[in-house]
């Protein structure tokens, strides 16, 4: 790389020059920031201002640019200089917009602006232009695992967008559960009559599609590689293995019904006239094929009365059965009731429910069933007993508040869905540890668990996608529905959460789009979501590495393996650039070209530290760039003022915060440190899923250090911030600042 030449640009627009002394800032950039070139401009993001910077880059040999203007989140299109290292000092949203325009506030506002100029100059000197991941894979083929409605939809959508698809189905034919349906819940106006299940049409379109290669009776024996260059070993029917190269994977392995054999109190297994929803679909198909009405399995007589039991083994508070609502079963029972009513209106059909949940346009369908004379009763079924060729359904009528019973020829249990998601990784890891003892029994446990594996990844972190709740694949539940914790592998359909056919189709389409984005970004050496397009990637100075494995264990995305010498081996294409490895590294050998222990550390050091008699405390805020930093920017846009003694540094994720920053800050005289990160736990909002949790866990260790330093533990404050907190955040900052002022200056000042 050419010799470093630094330049600072200070914008005077947006009233910055009316509120702060820009000439003084320029002096600081030259003297303290040691910038080779310092320029002021009235309107930096204008074509003229941008041309000025570009001219310096092209003709003056400027390689490092520090911009003192608005937030780094603003004007990113104007200030796009991909050939140089770029830092931004937030003088607008971070200073003048969050400070009152009064003579009293002028001094502290100017000091704030000066510090941000010092920080941007310090940061840019430690940065490099990211070169992009060189170990890219350029395979654009997309693998779809599962040939049900979700999988077929994903395959067709990807093909329509011009991508080649490999589709693997475990069974002998495409269609999955949908193929077993006699009819499906209506999807079109007026939402009154069940429709054809549509599987034959989709399967025909797949057969006719030259872009889609289908393997039936096939499973995945092994998945290795990373986005853009996955290698898939497919075990096919003949017993041999074929290998396909793909760029991204969509897991659409769907669900199975909750096993009704676990519900003996509802009569399943005791009477052939008690069936689950799939059982009824089979009866309806059989009846349609033979042209007869639906008949009782016990004696083949036409069904005259049928009771549908909703939430059979679902929404179970005892924890014995499924705890969740599967979402689709109410509509299915309505549909199945219409099978009877449409063939003979005199057949008694009763649906016993506690809450009828009809997503989509199910409400119209519900009404149409009521119009056909299907009886809906609010009741909880306690027992179903077989009674010769009929069944007695004991239930508590919730409206009339009485125990009562109904006789029926046929009882249908709505048992809900269980995802086909592979083994739970932590349980598997435990089982593997237990198997190290070598007994046959423990080895068999591992084999059984591995038998459930879908992807058979050869990753250090386990063979499948981590679970979320209840065995569903984690797929960033709150913000980004298809993103799993394995980059380039997307979950779609009921393996991700319970859903119906329409939702699964929408889901599959979304996952196909994400997979396409992933292969394109991987090919260019860029990061996938959420730092899509980021060219930086982590590197480790291996000569300093102590092989502690923290980075490999903590990486939320399974991007880091271990090489044969047990050093971390980065799979850059799997990396999401969150920096959790960098935060975890106790010897600080991991860094990004434009984000490192140094880029933040130098900013912390650059802040001017007033002495203990000045009554000007300094509070460092490390704010997550995904939620907390935009919330602070928006607080500025709303002109919500906050304390002038805070200095904010955005971080990629709380997980990237290295404890050295905290101890350095407190050692060098900061009076307090605030961490702002996303919510963690079951309802996490962290863009990197586990980042904020790991960061917080790490920080909990810092409290011991604080005690060791004889500092009050309140000098470190951890706060959960959501992007919507822009109005409450300033109040919280101010309250903390008051707390710090009351505590008195840090004893480390001036040491």
């Amino acid at each position: 790389m050419a010799e470093m030449k630094t330049a600072a640009y200070l914008c005077k627009g947006c009233e910055i020059d009316k509120r702060v002394n820009v000439a003084a800032l320029a002096k600081i950039a030259t003297k303290e920031g040691k910038m080779a070139l310092v320029r002021e401009h009235d309107f930096l993001c204008s074509a003229d201002g941008v041309a000025l910077i570009q001219n310096d880059i092209d003709n003056e040999g400027v390689t490092h640019v520090a911009l003192g203007a608005c937030s780094r989140r603003a004007k990113t299109e104007a200030f796009n200089f991909p050939t140089v290292a770029l830092s931004r000092g937030n003088l607008r949203e971070g200073v003048i917009w969050i400070r009152p325009d009064t003579p009293d506030a002028q001094e502290t506002t100017q000091e704030m602006a000066e510090d941000y100029v010092r920080m941007m100059c310090a940061e840019v000197k430690t940065m490099q232009v990211p070169a992009g991941n060189q170990k890219t894979g350029t395979i654009k083929t997309i693998l779809v695992v599962g040939g049900g409605v979700s999988g077929m939809t994903a395959a067709l959508e990807a093909s329509k967008a011009g991508y080649k698809v490999v589709l693997i189905e475990k069974a002998a034919a495409l269609g999955g559960w949908a193929a077993k349906l006699h009819k499906r819940v209506p999807t079109r106006e007026p939402f009154k009559s069940p429709e054809d299940n549509g599987v034959a049409d989709m399967a025909a379109r797949i057969d006719a599609d030259a872009n889609i290669k289908v393997y039936l009776n096939a499973t995945i024996a092994k998945t290795s590689g990373s986005p853009g260059r996955f290698k898939i070993d497919i075990a096919i029917e003949s017993g041999s293995v074929v290998t396909e190269d793909v760029g991204a994977i969509i897991q659409a392995t769907g669900f199975t019904l909750y096993d009704a054999n676990k519900l003996p109190h509802l009569g399943y297994g005791k009477s052939p006239n008690v069936v689950d929803q799939a059982g009824l679909e089979a009866l309806a198909k059989e009846a349609a094929a033979s042209g007869k009405p639906i008949c009782r399995p016990s004696d083949g007589q036409p069904v005259k009365s049928v009771v549908f039991v909703q939430c059979a083994g679902q929404r179970d508070a005892s924890g014995e059965h499924l705890q969740y609502c599967s979402g689709y079963c109410c509509n299915v029972s309505i549909k199945q009731a219409t099978y009877f009513k449409d063939s003979n209106p005199d057949i008694d059909t009763v649906v016993l429910f506690t809450d009828l949940r009809t997503p989509g346009n199910g409400e119209d369908f519900y009404r149409s069933a009521q119009n056909r004379g299907v009886i809906f009763s609010k009741g909880v079924v306690s027992e179903v007993t077989a009674n010769g060729n009929t069944c007695t359904v004991q239930f508590k009528d919730l409206i009339l508040n009485e125990d009562t019973a109904a006789e029926a020829d046929l009882v249908v249990l709505a048992t809900g869905s269980v995802p086909t998601s592979g083994p739970e990784l932590e349980a598997l890891a435990d089982a593997k540890r237990a198997a190290e003892s070598g007994t046959e029994e423990t080895k068999n446990v591992v084999l059984q668990m591995m038998d459930k594996s879908v992807l058979n990844l050869d990753y250090r972190q386990g063979p499948d996608i981590p679970h979320f709740k209840h065995g569903f694949n984690d797929s960033h539940f709150i913000c980004f529905p298809y993103e799993t914790r394995r980059t380039g592998i997307y979950a779609a359909g009921p393996v991700r959460r319970p859903m119906d056919i329409l939702q699964a189709q929408e889901d599959a389409t979304g996952a196909a789009m994400k997979a396409i984005q992933a292969v394109e970004n991987a090919g260019l050496g860029k990061a996938a979501h959420p730092r899509a397009g980021d060219l930086s990637f982590p590197t480790a100075r291996l000569e300093g590495c102590t092989q502690c494995k923290r980075c490999t264990v903590e990486c939320p995305f399974g991007a880091i393996d271990e090489d044969e010498k047990r050093f971390p081996l980065f799979n850059e294409s799997r990396c999401r650039r969150c920096g959790t490895c960098m935060g975890a590294c106790p010897v600080r050998v991991i860094s990004f070209e434009n984000y490192s222990v140094n880029t933040v550390g130098m900013q912390i050091k650059a802040v001017d530290m007033p002495d203990e008699f000045s009554e000007k405390p300094r509070i460092l805020i490390l704010a997550c760039e995904n939620d907390a930093y935009p919330a602070l920017d928006m607080a500025g846009m709303n002109r919500n003022a906050y304390d002038p003694f805070v200095r904010v540094i955005p971080v990629r994720c709380l997980g990237s915060v290295n404890t050295i920053w905290i101890t350095d800050a407190l050692n060098s005289g900061y009076d307090g440190v605030m961490l702002m990160g996303c919510k963690h736990g079951d309802e996490y909002q962290c863009h990197f899923v586990k980042g904020s949790e790991l960061g917080r866990y790490r920080m909990s260790k810092v409290y011991d250090t604080l005690k060791g330093m004889n500092l009050e533990i309140d000098r470190l404050m951890d706060m959960e911030v959501a992007i919507t907190d822009m109005d409450t955040l300033p109040g919280k900052i101010n309250a903390y600042a008051e707390q710090i002022k009351a505590m008195g200056p840090s004893p480390f000042k001036g040491l």
């Binding site: 009404r367 009886i375 809906f376 009763s377 009528d397 409206i399 009339l400």
Partner: protein, 216 residues
């Protein structure tokens, strides 16, 4: 039990829902209820001891085939026609009209309770209003005051004496109405003819329904 009641019970066997759908006015709406309970929660008579079954329960009882419980219930007579339920029902079920329909059907088959105050009010009001083509307030008040006997009638009248005199002084009450004088509509016999024709038509409709419906 009247004859008609037994006939109907026999004809519809266990299918009380079908009986209500075919025989009671607006009865076809009963199946459309989704049991949310907004009608019951909106009903202003909920505190009254006579309110044994709120509308939601009446609907449920009909669907559960509980004929005797519904026909013995006071619930549908308690309706004051405030239309809260009608306005609020998320399924747009005309609950008020359904309640009236069921009450009217119960009355028609002779299952209405004997001393039901709202039923008495309706009958008295109807007789009074149709007699002169408009309400004779004095006679109406009298018949309501004396419904439980002379003693309680006089007592109630004495209690309201001051209000009545006030109304008379203000020209709002004509004491001569007690003798059948006062306001009448212009063409009393015309009204009577109209009502007679309407009754004839309705009776014909209902008889036809009672004859044909329910027979498969």
């Amino acid at each position: 039990m009247s004859n008609l009641n037994e006939q109907m019970a026999d004809r519809y066997k266990n299918n009380f829902l079908k009986e209500i759908e075919e025989q009671a006015e607006m009865g076809e709406w009963v199946k459309m209820c989704m049991q949310c309970g907004l009608c019951s929660g909106s009903c202003p008579t909920h505190f009254h001891s006579g309110w044994d079954h709120p509308p939601q329960e009446i609907f449920m009882l009909i669907r559960a085939g509980k004929r005797e419980e519904v026909l013995n219930s006071q619930g549908m007579y308690m309706c004051t026609s405030c239309y809260n339920c009608y306005v609020r029902c998320p399924r747009k079920v005309p609950v008020t009209h359904v309640m009236h329909g069921i009450a009217e059907y119960a009355y028609r088959i002779g299952r209405a309770p004997k001393a039901q105050p709202t039923l008495h009010l309706s009958k008295t009001f109807w007789t009074n209003a149709t007699k002169y083509g408009r309400v004779n307030e004095v006679q109406l008040t009298q018949s309501l005051y004396f419904k439980d006997g002379i003693g309680s009638g006089i007592k109630k009248a004495m209690e309201m004496q001051k209000e009545a005199l006030g109304l008379v002084m203000a020209g709002r009450l004509n004491p001569m109405e007690a003798l059948g004088m006062g306001h009448k509509c212009k063409d009393v016999s015309g009204i009577h003819k109209m009502l007679a024709k309407a009754e004839e038509l309705e009776a014909k409709n209902k008889a036809a329904k009672a004859d044909t419906a329910g027979k498969e």
